[in-house]
């Protein structure tokens, strides 16, 4: 079997890729995709721990299902916000949405 650590390394790499993408990308949709990456990396972690440490239980799988659902809901909400934002500012560049400051 592939050692657990390999899978954890993959999920961490995905996590940090997502975080990087969140901080570094300008397009709001791309940022949304990075958030998805982060969420999915957590998913991989859950499945891996479930399969390797507690094979006879299904708790990890339940969590994963939850996360998938919630991710979907959150993405729809986020897209609604982005659409409104576009209607107001005519851009989906995150650098142009700096009005809520001092």
């Amino acid at each position: 079997m592939i050692p657990l650590s390999h899978i954890l390394i993959v999920s961490s790499a995905l996590f940090f890729l997502g975080v990087y993408g969140f901080f570094a990308r300008r397009n709001l949709i791309t940022i949304l995709m990075s958030v998805e990456l982060i969420l999915n990396s957590a998913n991989i972690n859950f499945i891996a721990f479930n399969k390797y440490l507690y094979p006879d239980k299904l708790d990890g799988v339940f969590f994963t299902l939850f996360i998938i659902t919630i991710a979907a809901a959150e993405v729809s909400l986020a897209l609604a916000i982005i659409i409104n934002l576009y209607r107001r500012y005519n851009t989906i560049d995150i650098e142009d949405t700096k009005e809520m400051k001092f």
């Binding site: 901080f23 995150i94 650098e95 400051k101 001092f102």
Partner: protein, 644 residues
């Protein structure tokens, strides 16, 4: 309370009543009514004063051979601590009864005189209300039983004087003079206050007679409270010296004399009342009141008083010789004569053979009131007639002002101590007591007597002689009988007052004292006075080259004297340069720049800090997310290291 008690209460309170009526409702009365209210109240007080004096000196005052104090009434006004309280009361003893007579009489004369003199003035009723206030304050001062009570009336006298000097309040010079008078005497009063505090702490009482009793019994525990010494003088002497400083301020002793000449800005009757006969003798009265303590327990303080008095007498007399404003001459003369009273106290001691100075001082106070008030009122009549204060505008007035002329002459003779006028007897007594205890002061007094005669007769000859009277001169005095009557009455007083056997009534310990006149010791002062008169005649009775010649010969000294030895300039220097520039300005600067600056600086610091922190809220989502992530990482690290 018997009739004398009620009379004394009425005597003191009538002027107060008059003040209140005139101050509150005076505007609505006609000038005649105001004058009537003011004058009648004081005339009644004067009659009461004579009544009380008759009763005291001839009936109830003399108890087993000595005149003792009779406390008429007293009540507790303000209790500070268990020992110390301000009591208000009235005491009759030789000193206070004599002062009551003097104050009410002179005040009555001034009230009557002012009916003509101040006629037509704006604020006429206010003038009479201030005069009543002053009379009340002065009366309250002399009957005080408690040293703080005297301080209260002392301050009130100062305030009335301020209001009266500044009566012509639209004139800048009057305003400045009033301020100067108040501030200089206030500064002296500070000494008085500290002296009171020290006295009361040591003697544990504020009552005059208790203080005197406790501090004059040798070996008393209270005297031990003053046992410390400082530069060779005991603490008690310093305390009494501080009290004397208060007296020196009101009585215009050097260096506090500077306010009195300027106070001549007030109306002339005011000068007669306040700055000749009554307020300025308050300092002498104060030393007289505490005389037993001075004489028995603090003789070195008394010595300082003697020297200060002698110096001031000479100093003021020299300046008086050079002044050209009639009222200034009289002002410096007053300073000089009061200094006589002061040094008479200074050379006196305790005990029948040494206390002549006390009686002499009080005697001179009594006689001086008459002739000095007369001089001022006469000067007022002259100024009224001529329209100016300056000597150069006067001359040959003996035909146009006959009554003024004769009365003025009587007053000059009295002040120059020519027998048998009043001043002779009192000044003789002073000089003889000085001769017995301090010959140097005696010679100063003698010489000053000569100067006195000189400058007074300089005035007399310059005003009434010097020129031929004008052919068409008409008698000014027929229009002003209210002015003439006081002049005549005061002149009579100046003649007969000296003949009263004063020592019989007023002495340091109450027992009668014989003031004898030794023919041998009398000759010299009279001769000196006659010399002064003769010199004045030679210089001033006619146009003469002599004044200019003398001035030229003593040019430097003359300049110093006519500029009053520059003391006023020193006073101005101290107030402007020292008080304002050296102390006031830096304090205002410190307040504005440093303290306020600190507060404003704190505000600026907060603003700057705020400006520095503000950029954290940049509005950039990704920055916020980075902080969030950083926080989460820190938390994770902590959790890992805590639990793993």
């Amino acid at each position: 309370m018997d009739s004398y008690g009620i009379s004394s209460l009425a005597l003191v309170l009538l002027p107060l009543l008059s003040f209140i009526i005139l101050a509150v409702a005076g505007k609505h009365f006609s000038p005649k009514i105001s004058a009537l209210i003011g004058t009648s109240s004081i005339v009644i007080s004067a009659l009461l004063a004579f009544y009380i004096a008759g009763g005291y000196f001839f009936e109830f005052g003399n108890i087993s051979g000595a005149f003792t104090k009779q406390i008429i009434m007293q009540f507790n006004w303000l209790q500070f601590t268990n020992d110390l309280s301000i009591n208000l009361g009235i005491v009759l003893d030789p000193l206070s009864v004599m002062m009551l007579v003097v104050i009410t009489t002179i005040s009555a004369m001034v009230h009557i005189y002012s009916i003509n003199y101040m006629q037509g003035e704006e604020y006429f009723e206010r003038y009479y209300s201030y005069l009543s206030l002053f009379t009340f304050s002065m009366l309250g001062l002399v009957v005080s039983v408690n040293i703080f009570q005297m301080y209260i009336f002392w301050e009130l006298v100062g305030a009335s004087s301020f209001l009266l000097i500044g009566f012509y309040f639209t004139k800048p010079s009057a305003i400045a003079a009033a301020k100067k008078a108040f501030i200089v005497t206030r500064f002296a009063d500070l000494g008085f206050l500290i002296g009171i505090l020290m006295l009361s702490a040591g003697a544990k009482s504020l009552d005059f007679f208790t203080i005197i009793e406790r501090l004059t019994t040798p070996g008393s525990a209270y005297l031990a409270n003053f046992s410390g010494s400082f530069i060779g003088m005991s603490a008690l002497s310093w305390t009494l010296l501080l009290v004397f400083i208060g007296g020196a301020g009101k009585s215009a002793m050097f260096p506090f004399h500077i306010w009195l000449p300027d106070a001549m800005e007030g109306p002339t009757p005011v000068s007669a009342l306040i700055h000749a006969a009554t307020m300025v003798v308050a300092g002498v009265f104060l030393v007289g009141r505490l005389f037993p303590v001075f004489a028995i327990s603090a003789p070195d303080a008394l010595m300082i008083i003697g020297y200060t008095g002698a110096f001031t007498a000479l100093f003021a007399a020299i300046i008086a010789c050079t002044q050209t404003d009639i009222k200034r001459v009289l002002a410096y003369s007053t300073i000089s004569q009061i200094a006589y009273m002061m040094f008479a106290l200074g050379v006196a001691g305790w005990g029948a053979d040494k206390s002549e100075g006390f009686t002499a001082s009080m005697f001179h106070l009594f006689t001086h009131a008459f002739f000095k008030a007369l001089l001022f009122l006469g000067a007022g009549a002259i100024i009224h007639a001529v329209g100016s204060n300056e000597l150069k505008n006067m001359g040959g007035l003996r035909k146009s002002l006959p009554i003024t002329h004769i009365t003025f002459l009587i007053a000059c003779l009295a002040i120059s101590s020519i027998p048998p006028f009043a001043g002779f007897f009192s000044k003789e007594a002073i000089l003889s007591s000085a001769m017995h205890s301090n010959p140097m002061i005696y010679y100063v007094g003698l010489f000053t007597g000569g100067l006195t005669a000189f400058y007074m007769f300089r005035l007399y000859f310059r005003i009434f002689w010097f020129k031929k009277p004008e052919v068409h001169a008409h008698n000014h005095e027929v229009h002003t009988w209210f002015m003439n009557v006081p002049l005549i009455l005061l002149a009579i007083g100046s003649v007969v007052a000296g003949l009263i056997p004063f020592g019989h009534f007023v002495s340091a310990n109450g027992e009668p004292l014989e003031l004898s006149i030794h023919l041998g010791s009398v000759v010299l002062p009279v001769l000196v006075a006659l010399t002064g008169i003769a010199t004045a005649y030679l210089y001033f009775a006619r146009e003469s080259f002599r004044p200019e010649q003398s001035v030229a010969r003593f040019r430097l000294f003359y300049n110093w004297a006519i500029n009053k030895f520059y003391i006023d300039e020193i006073y101005l220097f101290i107030t402007k340069k020292v008080l304002f520039n050296l102390i006031g300005r830096p304090i205002a600067w410190v307040d504005k720049e440093i303290i306020n600056g600190a507060i404003n600086g704190t505000a600026r610091l907060s603003m700057k800090t705020s400006e520095m922190i503000k950029p954290v809220q940049s509005g950039r989502t990704q920055t916020y997310a980075m902080f969030f992530m950083g926080g989460a990482l820190v938390l994770a690290a902590i959790l890992i290291f805590k639990f793993v």
